[in-house]
């Protein structure tokens, strides 16, 4: 079980903002003041539709973009700005990323062996060429590929296999924390299950922590311990995955859940999608994340808190 004590936080994101083209007419506020924590050993699912800012959040945390403002604390250190070379190097070993597009995330001109060994080479983790080859072979085996795949090129592999190569690449530097940016969205359904199982296995074996970014709600619930729902750059709701699905408090979350198709014809015949009016987010009220019931936060203004509390109570009354 996950230890949710204060000391066990591996990542703390505070008031993160990522704006593009600041001051210009085409300014985009991709991430607009979000705050959340991730605990060691858990999988935090970050859910949202296109334009929600979830991918930008992941990229800002790992410093692919320089955050516009906000504080990021990782493993006890403030990494909001990476200053020294040493700090950068440690950070880039402890935190890694798996990408969405299996066709664009591997260099088409490099052999699989060199792709996977890139992290090993940068950090000088191999004693010699033989050691390097062995490490690559072990990594490929860990992700379920054969060692003779190492001399082939990315275009010879299927999407699922490429994604596994990407995972091997991330694992090569022995990270603690992996941001998985929609790693299964581009894969077939049966292959998605393979990759998800692999990720869970690796998490158990290597005590990894994941930030799992996705828009597929059924898969996110399965893999995540806790879920954060984003919309238009803001964090609307955070709770455990069971809670979110059983008792969604925010209207958007409820609408999102009602739209998810389920492989059950009877359920589908009866399903009614709950519509959501997004304008309620832009009425100018001051809002922040409020803990409505223990471990369940909702973005609310002062006057909305009672409404959400009532909602939480109602649901639990229904449960009884």
């Amino acid at each position: 079980m996950i230890d949710y004590s204060e000391e066990n936080k591996i990542l703390q994101v505070e008031h993160l903002k990522q704006y593009f083209n600041i001051g210009k007419p085409n300014e985009v506020r991709a991430v607009d003041d979000i705050t959340f924590d991730v605990y060691r050993g858990e999988t935090f699912g970050l859910v949202g539709e296109s334009g929600s800012g979830k991918t930008t959040t992941g990229r800002a945390i790992i410093h692919l973009y320089e955050p516009t403002s906000g504080k990021i604390v990782f493993d006890g250190q403030d990494v909001s700005k990476l200053n020294s070379k040493k700090q950068k190097q440690t950070f880039r070993r402890d935190m890694q990323m798996i990408f969405q597009d299996p066709y664009a995330s591997l260099n088409p001109r490099m052999k699989v062996k060199d792709i996977v060994a890139e992290g090993i080479d940068i950090n000088h983790l191999a004693k010699d060429d033989a050691d390097r080859s062995k490490q690559v072979e072990d990594l490929l085996e860990t992700v379920g590929l054969n060692k003779d795949h190492s001399s082939r090129y990315p275009h010879e592999f299927s999407g699922g296999q490429r994604q596994r190569i990407g995972i091997a690449r991330a694992l090569a530097v022995q990270p603690q924390f992996i941001i998985a940016d929609e790693p299964i969205s581009a894969l077939d359904v049966s292959i998605q299950a393979q990759v998800v199982n692999l990720l869970k296995k690796l998490q158990r074996e290597r005590n990894l922590t994941y930030l799992f970014i996705a828009h597929d709600l059924s898969m996110v619930k399965y893999i995540s311990d806790r879920i954060g729902v984003m919309h238009y750059g803001r964090m609307l709701e955070i709770a455990s995955s069971d809670e979110i699905y059983a008792h969604p408090l925010h209207d958007y979350t409820a609408s999102l859940l009602s739209a998810v198709p389920v492989p059950d014809p009877e359920y589908e015949r009866a399903r009614v999608q709950i519509p959501y009016d997004a304008s309620q987010e832009f009425d100018g009220k001051e809002r922040s994340l409020v803990e409505i019931v223990p471990h369940h936060w909702v973005r609310a203004s002062e006057d909305e808190i009672p409404m959400y509390q009532k909602r939480a109570q109602e649901d639990s009354r229904l449960k009884q």
């Binding site: 990229r59 790992i62 692919l64 950068k88 190097q89 880039r92 070993r93 935190m95 890694q96 990323m97 990408f99 969405q100 597009d101 664009a104 995330s105 591997l106 260099n107 088409p108 001109r109 490099m110 890139e118 992290g119 940068i122 950090n123 379920g144 590929l145 054969n146 795949h149 001399s151 082939r152 090129y153 010879e156 592999f157 296999q161 990407g166 690449r169 530097v173």
Partner: protein
């Protein structure tokens, strides 16, 4: 789909044993492994026109750079007695290649006239009695040298400038682009003329002129492609791994830019070749007595009415050279384009 039930036995319906299962490779890749370049070469081979162009260029290269093996005479040796002789190839008796010329309606053996019976000038001589064939070889060599020099600048300046501008982006990129635009706005010809004020007309001036202007297109194309590649996930992955910008440029950007670079090179070259020929033609490039395809065309032009071969042959060689590079460039563009793979 129909099956002969008689041929199957009850035994066939047992589940597969572990050993047999291991033989079924569920991750097998059947196609042979081709690198990107091997695959592109295969595609290029299918393009007949491009292959012919390639062969022609190889032949011309060999002829030009190993001209000492093929030269029949010294290209600069004048021999006023043998001026304006028509082509004479030993053993061939077609009008135009048998040493005869049409003088006021009559076929005359020009070699006999000039008492040059023992000599063979396979493409004839010019107005100073110099062997046209040897001079064309020499001129071709100059053109191809220009080609190599232009390539060098393309690669040394153009690619580096483009990658730097594209990768760094922001203000640096804007500044670098503005500089290029200023350089582009000055016509090559004007640059050349200004250089001649300082230097003598000749190879040095031409090389400098090319050095200043010919690589700009390459820089722009490479920059555009770099901007596109910069946001590709495999580059992002390299950055998250902590790869330095230098390494990213060499390991990741360059190999993926190679298509653009090779193709553009194939088009820069004919432009440069023509530039030199043109300058030499109008007299501010390579100057006489040195042979350049441009000066040869100029010389030949003077006698075009009566001795058309003097202009035709250098003109044909120049045209073939340029067309071949263009066709090869076209073929390479199709072969190297990853989107049209089947």
């Amino acid at each position: 789909m129909a099956d002969n039930a008689k041929q199957t036995s009850a035994d066939d319906f047992t589940p597969i044993a572990g050993a047999d299962r291991a033989k079924l490779d569920d991750e097998k890749i059947a196609t042979p492994s081709l690198t990107f370049l091997q695959d592109s070469w295969r595609r290029l081979r299918k393009n007949k026109a491009a292959m012919i162009a390639l062969v022609i260029l190889i032949i011309l290269f060999i002829l030009a750079f190993f001209s000492f093996l093929f030269e029949t005479h010294n290209p600069n040796a004048t021999n006023p007695n043998f001026a304006n002789l028509p082509p004479k190839i030993p053993g061939i008796d077609i009008n135009g290649f048998n040493g005869t010329i049409d003088q006021s309606g009559q076929r005359v053996n020009a070699y006999a006239q000039a008492h040059a019976g023992n000599h063979f000038y396979i493409l004839g001589t010019d107005y100073l009695g110099r062997d046209l064939f040897s001079r064309i070889l020499y001129g071709t060599r100059i053109s191809l040298e220009i080609a190599l020099i232009a390539s060098f600048f393309d690669l040394a300046f153009g690619v580096v400038y483009g990658i730097t501008s594209g990768w760094i982006g922001g203000r640096v990129d804007t500044l670098m682009q503005r500089i290029i635009e200023i350089m582009l706005s000055i016509p090559n010809l004007v640059v050349m003329v200004l250089l001649i004020l300082v230097l003598k007309p000749g190879m040095t001036a031409i090389i400098l002129s090319i050095a200043i202007t010919s690589w700009i297109n390459m820089a722009r194309l490479v920059r555009a492609q770099t901007l596109e590649l910069k946001n590709q996930e495999f580059i992002l992955a390299a950055r998250t791994l902590g790869e330095s910008s230098w390494k990213i440029a060499f390991k990741h950007l360059l190999p993926n830019l190679s298509s653009v670079i090779i193709i553009n090179l194939m088009f820069t070259i004919p432009t440069a070749i023509f530039f030199e020929a043109f300058l030499s033609y109008i007299g501010i490039g390579i100057s006489a007595p040195q042979a350049s395809l441009g000066t040869l065309i100029n010389d030949g032009q003077k006698n075009f009415q009566f001795l058309p071969y003097q202009m035709w042959y250098p003109a044909i060689v120049l045209s073939v050279l340029m067309i071949a590079f263009n066709i090869l460039g076209d073929g390479l563009r199709d072969a190297l384009d990853p989107k049209s793979r089947e």
